[in-house]
Amino acid sequence: MLADTLTGGFSDPAVQSAHAFRAVMEAMARPGTVQDIAGAEPPAPLSKAAGAVLLTLCDTDTPVYLAGAADCEEVRAWLAFHTGAPLVGPSHCMFAVGSWAELGPLSRYPIGTSEYPDRSATLIVETAQIAQSGATLKGPGIKDTAALSLPELAAFQDNQRHFPLGLDFFFTCENQVAALPRSTEVF
């Protein structure tokens, strides 16, 4: 177990996190696109993509909430060793990771304040697959419309209505990541 904890991080952190961030940024800037992301080998049940997003964005400054099955000894130890991120409940987190069913209800997460809409949580949603079909997306970053497989519609429509407040989402699956910022209209 100790060996698993110490391995699986970026072997060349500066370069690998730079590449991983570009994937994350392209995903957030162009909702509905699916990006490849690599470099992390986190313990189960985390996907490689979720591990890479956590390694790229989290450190001692970012409280993380592990939801449901992600909240296990292996993941706690791995995240502590590689990022040092403090583990907290959903109401105080900057990042949360877990399956869609385990992350809810969304009302538990900070959505920012009208003067500081950036003080909101980002949810990393582990999904079985990401497809560019299903819900129709419209908004900044999308030329006309885009499509993305979402676990449901109502929660994201409700989230968008709070704009500029709200949550931002990453969807992770194996080595792929997609994103849905609060600015995107979903229907």
Binding site: A18, C58, D118, P140, G141, I142
Partner: protein, 285 residues
């Protein structure tokens, strides 16, 4: 050429993560100025410390980097920032707009349309469009939260009452996705129409003022105006003296002591590639 003693792209990893988180928030809330813990850089404030920090956070070793200063690749600011990243990040650099994957700019948008594979990083001196109207940060923050932008329209109206037209010619305020009023950095208003619906990602970094903001691709960006005084992207009413271009932004250059002047493209790469393609202006040597 890379300086091995420094981390890749100069900044430490924790700083880059902090900047990267701010960039993502900026992309999620287009036009909103995200506070970030700007670092001291090995160059003075006002020389692009914000843009440099944003570039450092987005660059990968595979990128090809271009820097322009008022459109030119060969001025002090552009040359020194380009060599800074050649040394600390080991990235390839270029002066050709089409070949660059990351372009850091001081106060211009290249004439050549950018593509989806490019990122444009702006150096921003004063990110707050309302700052000269209301000096208190606590108040401008409240005005943004309440979408209270009447003061900005009063300022534009006063321009009209005093000069007969909107005299603001650079740093012309825009409204992003019908929500946030944003300072596009001191680009000439000639460049404002290029801000909206751009294929590239646009990132804005203000180092001294500690703010990062962003425009995702294909974002709606509208220059503020009035129905009876619509926004007009103006430029000097001449053609480039070197390449003959009639639709590029021009710099006025005084060429002798008697005040003789010429107008040349401010985008040096655009002008050079036009001349290489055989276009000739009236004063081309």
């Amino acid at each position: 050429m890379s300086e091995a003693a420094y981390n890749f792209a100069y900044l430490d990893e924790q700083t880059k993560r902090m900047i990267r988180r701010a960039i993502l928030k900026g992309l999620a809330v287009p036009g909103y100025q995200v506070p970030f813990a700007s670092r001291e850089m090995p160059m003075p404030y006002g020389w692009g410390t914000g843009g440099v920090q944003v570039s450092a956070a987005v660059l990968t070793p595979d990128d090809r980097f271009k820097v322009i200063d008022q459109g030119a690749d060969d001025t002090t600011n552009a040359v020194s920032i380009r060599s800074f990243f050649e040394r600390t990040a080991g990235v390839d650099t270029t002066t050709k707009t089409a070949e660059a994957s990351v372009i850091q700019t001081r106060h211009r948008i290249p004439e050549e349309p950018l593509t989806e594979d490019q990122i444009l990083v702006y150096q921003v001196p004063i990110p707050e469009p309302l700052r000269f109207l209301e000096p208190r940060e606590s108040e401008t923050r409240k005005m943004h939260s309440l979408e209270e932008y009447g003061l900005m329209h009063v300022k534009l109206y006063e321009d009209i009452s005093r000069h007969g037209h909107i005299a603001t010619s650079y740093a012309y305020p825009v409204k992003v996705e019908g929500r946030y009023v944003m300072d596009p950095s001191p680009i000439p208003k000639f460049d404002n129409p290029k801000l909206g619906d751009m294929a590239a990602i646009q990132l804005f970094g203000a180092g001294r003022e500690q703010r990062i903001y962003a425009l995702p691709p294909y974002t709606q960006v509208v220059s503020l105006d009035f129905e009876d005084h619509p926004f007009e992207a103006s430029k000097a009413d001449h053609a480039c003296a070197l390449c003959g271009a009639e639709h590029s932004y021009l710099d006025e250059v005084i060429v002798d002591d008697s005040g003789k002047r010429m107008f040349v493209c401010s985008d040096t790469d655009f002008c050079e590639s036009r001349r290489a393609a055989g276009h000739v202006g009236e004063q081309a040597a």
